[in-house]
Protein backbone atom coordinates (compact mmCIF):
# COMPACT_ATOMS: atom_id res chain seq x y z
CA UNK A 1 0.00 0.00 0.00
CA UNK A 2 2.83 2.39 0.70
CA UNK A 3 4.49 1.99 -2.68
CA UNK A 4 3.04 4.35 -5.20
CA UNK A 5 4.55 2.60 -8.17
CA UNK A 6 6.26 -0.66 -8.74
CA UNK A 7 9.40 -0.43 -10.75
CA UNK A 8 10.00 -3.49 -12.89
CA UNK A 9 12.08 -1.67 -15.46
CA UNK A 10 14.07 1.39 -14.62
CA UNK A 11 14.23 3.94 -17.39
CA UNK A 12 15.87 7.26 -17.43
CA UNK A 13 14.18 9.94 -19.46
CA UNK A 14 16.01 13.13 -20.26
CA UNK A 15 14.58 16.25 -18.65
CA UNK A 16 13.03 17.40 -21.91
CA UNK A 17 11.58 13.98 -22.50
CA UNK A 18 10.10 13.90 -19.01
CA UNK A 19 8.20 17.09 -19.65
CA UNK A 20 7.07 15.81 -23.04
CA UNK A 21 5.72 12.57 -21.56
CA UNK A 22 4.13 14.50 -18.71
CA UNK A 23 2.37 16.92 -21.05
CA UNK A 24 1.47 14.38 -23.67
CA UNK A 25 0.32 11.48 -21.51
CA UNK A 26 -0.53 12.83 -18.07
CA UNK A 27 -1.97 16.31 -18.48
CA UNK A 28 -4.90 15.27 -20.73
CA UNK A 29 -6.38 13.44 -17.72
CA UNK A 30 -6.56 16.42 -15.35
CA UNK A 31 -10.32 16.70 -15.89
CA UNK A 32 -11.28 13.19 -15.00
CA UNK A 33 -8.70 13.05 -12.23
CA UNK A 34 -10.22 16.13 -10.63
CA UNK A 35 -13.70 14.69 -10.85
CA UNK A 36 -12.56 11.41 -9.37
CA UNK A 37 -10.84 13.28 -6.55
CA UNK A 38 -13.96 15.32 -5.91
CA UNK A 39 -16.17 12.25 -5.75
CA UNK A 40 -13.81 10.80 -3.17
CA UNK A 41 -13.34 13.87 -1.01
CA UNK A 42 -16.56 15.88 -1.58
CA UNK A 43 -14.49 19.02 -1.26
CA UNK A 44 -13.14 21.25 -4.01
CA UNK A 45 -9.97 22.28 -2.22
CA UNK A 46 -9.16 18.76 -1.12
CA UNK A 47 -9.78 17.52 -4.64
CA UNK A 48 -7.42 20.14 -6.00
CA UNK A 49 -4.72 19.24 -3.51
CA UNK A 50 -5.14 15.57 -4.19
CA UNK A 51 -4.79 16.04 -7.95
CA UNK A 52 -1.77 18.29 -7.56
CA UNK A 53 -0.16 15.86 -5.20
CA UNK A 54 -0.84 13.01 -7.62
CA UNK A 55 0.78 14.86 -10.51
CA UNK A 56 3.81 15.76 -8.44
CA UNK A 57 4.26 12.11 -7.53
CA UNK A 58 3.71 11.05 -11.13
CA UNK A 59 6.48 13.39 -12.22
CA UNK A 60 8.81 12.26 -9.50
CA UNK A 61 8.31 8.62 -10.43
CA UNK A 62 8.07 9.18 -14.15
CA UNK A 63 10.97 6.83 -14.83
CA UNK A 64 8.86 3.92 -13.77
CA UNK A 65 6.14 4.84 -16.22
CA UNK A 66 6.50 3.13 -19.57
CA UNK A 67 5.55 5.42 -22.41
CA UNK A 68 2.56 4.28 -24.41
CA UNK A 69 1.12 2.15 -21.60
CA UNK A 70 -2.06 3.07 -19.78
CA UNK A 71 -1.23 6.46 -18.29
CA UNK A 72 -4.74 7.02 -17.04
CA UNK A 73 -4.81 3.81 -15.02
CA UNK A 74 -1.36 4.59 -13.66
CA UNK A 75 -2.43 8.07 -12.53
CA UNK A 76 -5.64 6.76 -11.00
CA UNK A 77 -3.64 4.30 -9.00
CA UNK A 78 -1.40 7.02 -7.61
CA UNK A 79 -4.38 9.19 -6.79
CA UNK A 80 -6.21 6.37 -5.05
CA UNK A 81 -3.14 5.55 -2.96
CA UNK A 82 -2.60 9.19 -2.04
CA UNK A 83 -6.20 9.41 -0.99
CA UNK A 84 -5.90 6.40 1.27
CA UNK A 85 -2.56 7.36 2.75
CA UNK A 86 -2.94 11.08 3.23
CA UNK A 87 -6.49 12.20 3.00
CA UNK A 88 -8.27 9.50 4.91
CA UNK A 89 -6.04 9.95 7.92
CA UNK A 90 -6.70 13.64 7.90
CA UNK A 91 -10.44 13.21 7.70
CA UNK A 92 -10.83 10.99 10.74
CA UNK A 93 -11.03 13.99 13.04
CA UNK A 94 -14.30 15.73 12.04
CA UNK A 95 -16.58 12.84 12.99
CA UNK A 96 -17.48 14.40 16.33
CA UNK A 97 -18.53 17.69 14.82
CA UNK A 98 -20.74 15.92 12.32
CA UNK A 99 -22.49 14.08 15.11
CA UNK A 100 -23.27 17.30 16.91
CA UNK A 101 -24.71 18.78 13.78
CA UNK A 102 -26.89 15.78 13.26
CA UNK A 103 -28.05 15.93 16.83
CA UNK A 104 -28.97 19.57 16.53
CA UNK A 105 -30.76 18.88 13.31
CA UNK A 106 -32.96 16.24 14.84
CA UNK A 107 -33.59 18.22 17.98
CA UNK A 108 -34.93 21.29 16.25
CA UNK A 109 -38.67 21.14 15.81
CA UNK A 110 -39.24 23.10 12.65
CA UNK A 111 -36.77 21.15 10.52
CA UNK A 112 -39.28 19.12 8.48
CA UNK A 113 -41.14 22.12 7.11
CA UNK A 114 -38.00 24.00 6.03
CA UNK A 115 -36.70 20.90 4.33
CA UNK A 116 -39.88 20.66 2.31
CA UNK A 117 -39.67 24.26 1.20
CA UNK A 118 -36.06 23.78 0.12
CA UNK A 119 -37.03 20.82 -1.98
CA UNK A 120 -39.71 22.73 -3.77
CA UNK A 121 -37.29 25.38 -4.88
CA UNK A 122 -35.28 22.91 -6.85
CA UNK A 123 -36.03 22.28 -10.48
CA UNK A 124 -36.95 18.80 -11.55
CA UNK A 125 -33.79 18.46 -13.55
CA UNK A 126 -31.61 19.26 -10.56
CA UNK A 127 -33.55 16.81 -8.48
CA UNK A 128 -32.86 14.02 -10.90
CA UNK A 129 -29.17 14.78 -10.92
CA UNK A 130 -29.10 15.20 -7.15
CA UNK A 131 -30.89 11.97 -6.55
CA UNK A 132 -28.37 10.12 -8.65
CA UNK A 133 -25.34 11.72 -7.05
CA UNK A 134 -26.80 11.31 -3.56
CA UNK A 135 -27.30 7.64 -4.25
CA UNK A 136 -23.71 7.30 -5.44
CA UNK A 137 -22.29 9.43 -2.64
CA UNK A 138 -24.11 7.46 0.00
CA UNK A 139 -22.11 4.35 -0.90
CA UNK A 140 -19.07 3.54 1.23
CA UNK A 141 -15.91 4.72 -0.45
CA UNK A 142 -14.79 1.28 -1.65
CA UNK A 143 -18.10 0.68 -3.39
CA UNK A 144 -18.28 4.21 -4.71
CA UNK A 145 -14.84 3.85 -6.21
CA UNK A 146 -15.59 0.75 -8.26
CA UNK A 147 -18.76 2.28 -9.64
CA UNK A 148 -16.90 5.42 -10.67
CA UNK A 149 -14.07 3.49 -12.27
CA UNK A 150 -16.35 1.08 -14.06
CA UNK A 151 -19.40 3.08 -15.07
CA UNK A 152 -18.08 6.60 -15.36
CA UNK A 153 -14.53 5.99 -16.52
CA UNK A 154 -15.03 2.72 -18.33
CA UNK A 155 -12.04 0.86 -16.91
CA UNK A 156 -11.98 -2.90 -17.42
CA UNK A 157 -12.06 -5.27 -14.44
CA UNK A 158 -8.40 -5.98 -14.98
CA UNK A 159 -7.47 -2.29 -14.96
CA UNK A 160 -9.54 -1.76 -11.84
CA UNK A 161 -7.78 -4.63 -10.11
CA UNK A 162 -4.44 -2.97 -10.84
CA UNK A 163 -5.58 0.49 -9.81
CA UNK A 164 -7.01 -0.75 -6.53
CA UNK A 165 -4.41 -3.44 -5.78
CA UNK A 166 -7.06 -6.09 -5.29
CA UNK A 167 -7.77 -9.38 -7.09
CA UNK A 168 -10.24 -9.37 -9.97
CA UNK A 169 -12.60 -11.49 -7.91
CA UNK A 170 -12.74 -8.74 -5.32
CA UNK A 171 -13.44 -6.18 -8.04
CA UNK A 172 -16.37 -8.31 -9.15
CA UNK A 173 -17.81 -8.79 -5.70
CA UNK A 174 -17.42 -5.13 -4.78
CA UNK A 175 -19.14 -4.11 -7.98
CA UNK A 176 -21.87 -6.60 -7.33
CA UNK A 177 -22.46 -5.28 -3.83
CA UNK A 178 -22.32 -1.69 -5.05
CA UNK A 179 -24.85 -2.41 -7.77
CA UNK A 180 -27.23 -4.06 -5.35
CA UNK A 181 -27.07 -0.99 -3.15
CA UNK A 182 -27.59 1.34 -6.09
CA UNK A 183 -30.49 -0.72 -7.29
CA UNK A 184 -32.13 -0.41 -3.89
CA UNK A 185 -31.81 3.34 -4.10
CA UNK A 186 -32.49 3.92 -7.76
CA UNK A 187 -34.29 0.82 -8.96
CA UNK A 188 -37.84 2.10 -8.91
CA UNK A 189 -36.69 5.30 -10.47
CA UNK A 190 -34.79 3.53 -13.24
CA UNK A 191 -37.78 1.34 -13.91
CA UNK A 192 -40.08 4.30 -14.44
CA UNK A 193 -37.55 5.80 -16.84
CA UNK A 194 -37.42 2.54 -18.75
CA UNK A 195 -41.06 2.67 -19.73
CA UNK A 196 -41.12 6.20 -21.00
Amino acid sequence: MTNQVDTPVKRTYSEAKKVRVFDGEFMPHVDSMYNFAYRLTFDEDDAKDLVQDTYMKAFRFINSFQEGTNAKAWLYRILKNSFINDYRKKSKQPAKVDYQEVEQFYNSEDTPSTATVDLRLETTKDMIGDEISNALNSLAVDFRTVVILCDLEGFTYEEMAKILDIPIGTVRSRLHRARNLLREKLGSYAMSMGYN
Binding site: M27, V30, Y34, K48, V51, Q52, G129, D151, R183, A190
Partner: protein
Protein backbone atom coordinates in the same frame (compact mmCIF):
# COMPACT_ATOMS: atom_id res chain seq x y z
CA UNK B 1 -22.35 -8.54 -19.45
CA UNK B 2 -23.19 -4.87 -19.08
CA UNK B 3 -19.57 -4.14 -18.28
CA UNK B 4 -18.43 -5.63 -21.57
CA UNK B 5 -16.61 -8.39 -19.77
CA UNK B 6 -18.59 -11.29 -21.21
CA UNK B 7 -17.30 -13.56 -23.98
CA UNK B 8 -19.21 -13.65 -27.31
CA UNK B 9 -20.55 -17.07 -26.34
CA UNK B 10 -21.83 -15.81 -23.01
CA UNK B 11 -23.43 -12.86 -24.75
CA UNK B 12 -25.23 -15.02 -27.23
CA UNK B 13 -26.52 -17.26 -24.47
CA UNK B 14 -27.60 -14.25 -22.46
CA UNK B 15 -29.53 -12.57 -25.26
CA UNK B 16 -31.18 -15.85 -26.14
CA UNK B 17 -32.25 -16.21 -22.54
CA UNK B 18 -33.70 -12.77 -21.89
CA UNK B 19 -35.84 -13.03 -25.00
CA UNK B 20 -37.72 -15.78 -23.23
CA UNK B 21 -37.36 -14.83 -19.59
CA UNK B 22 -39.35 -11.81 -18.48
CA UNK B 23 -37.79 -11.68 -15.01
CA UNK B 24 -34.25 -11.50 -16.32
CA UNK B 25 -35.26 -9.12 -19.06
CA UNK B 26 -36.72 -6.67 -16.55
CA UNK B 27 -33.71 -7.04 -14.31
CA UNK B 28 -31.37 -6.41 -17.21
CA UNK B 29 -33.27 -3.27 -18.16
CA UNK B 30 -33.15 -1.84 -14.67
CA UNK B 31 -29.41 -2.40 -14.50
CA UNK B 32 -28.95 -0.82 -17.90
CA UNK B 33 -31.02 2.20 -16.91
CA UNK B 34 -29.01 2.72 -13.73
CA UNK B 35 -25.78 2.75 -15.69
CA UNK B 36 -27.23 5.21 -18.17
CA UNK B 37 -28.52 7.42 -15.38
CA UNK B 38 -25.11 7.51 -13.75
CA UNK B 39 -23.43 8.41 -16.99
CA UNK B 40 -25.85 11.05 -18.13
CA UNK B 41 -27.04 12.72 -14.95
CA UNK B 42 -23.86 13.09 -13.00
CA UNK B 43 -22.56 16.37 -14.19
CA UNK B 44 -18.87 16.82 -14.17
CA UNK B 45 -17.40 19.53 -12.06
CA UNK B 46 -15.53 22.19 -13.84
CA UNK B 47 -11.84 21.95 -13.18
CA UNK B 48 -10.40 25.16 -11.73
CA UNK B 49 -8.54 26.95 -14.52
CA UNK B 50 -5.49 27.51 -12.44
CA UNK B 51 -5.03 23.86 -11.57
CA UNK B 52 -3.38 22.66 -14.76
CA UNK B 53 -1.18 25.75 -14.92
CA UNK B 54 -0.12 25.33 -11.32
CA UNK B 55 0.84 21.72 -11.86
CA UNK B 56 2.68 22.62 -15.01
CA UNK B 57 4.58 25.41 -13.28
CA UNK B 58 5.58 23.22 -10.38
CA UNK B 59 7.06 20.48 -12.48
CA UNK B 60 9.21 22.66 -14.71
CA UNK B 61 10.63 24.64 -11.83
Amino acid sequence: MLDNEATPNQEEFFYGHIEKCMVCFAHYNVEKQIRQLLKSKLNNKEVPNALAEEIRRKIVS
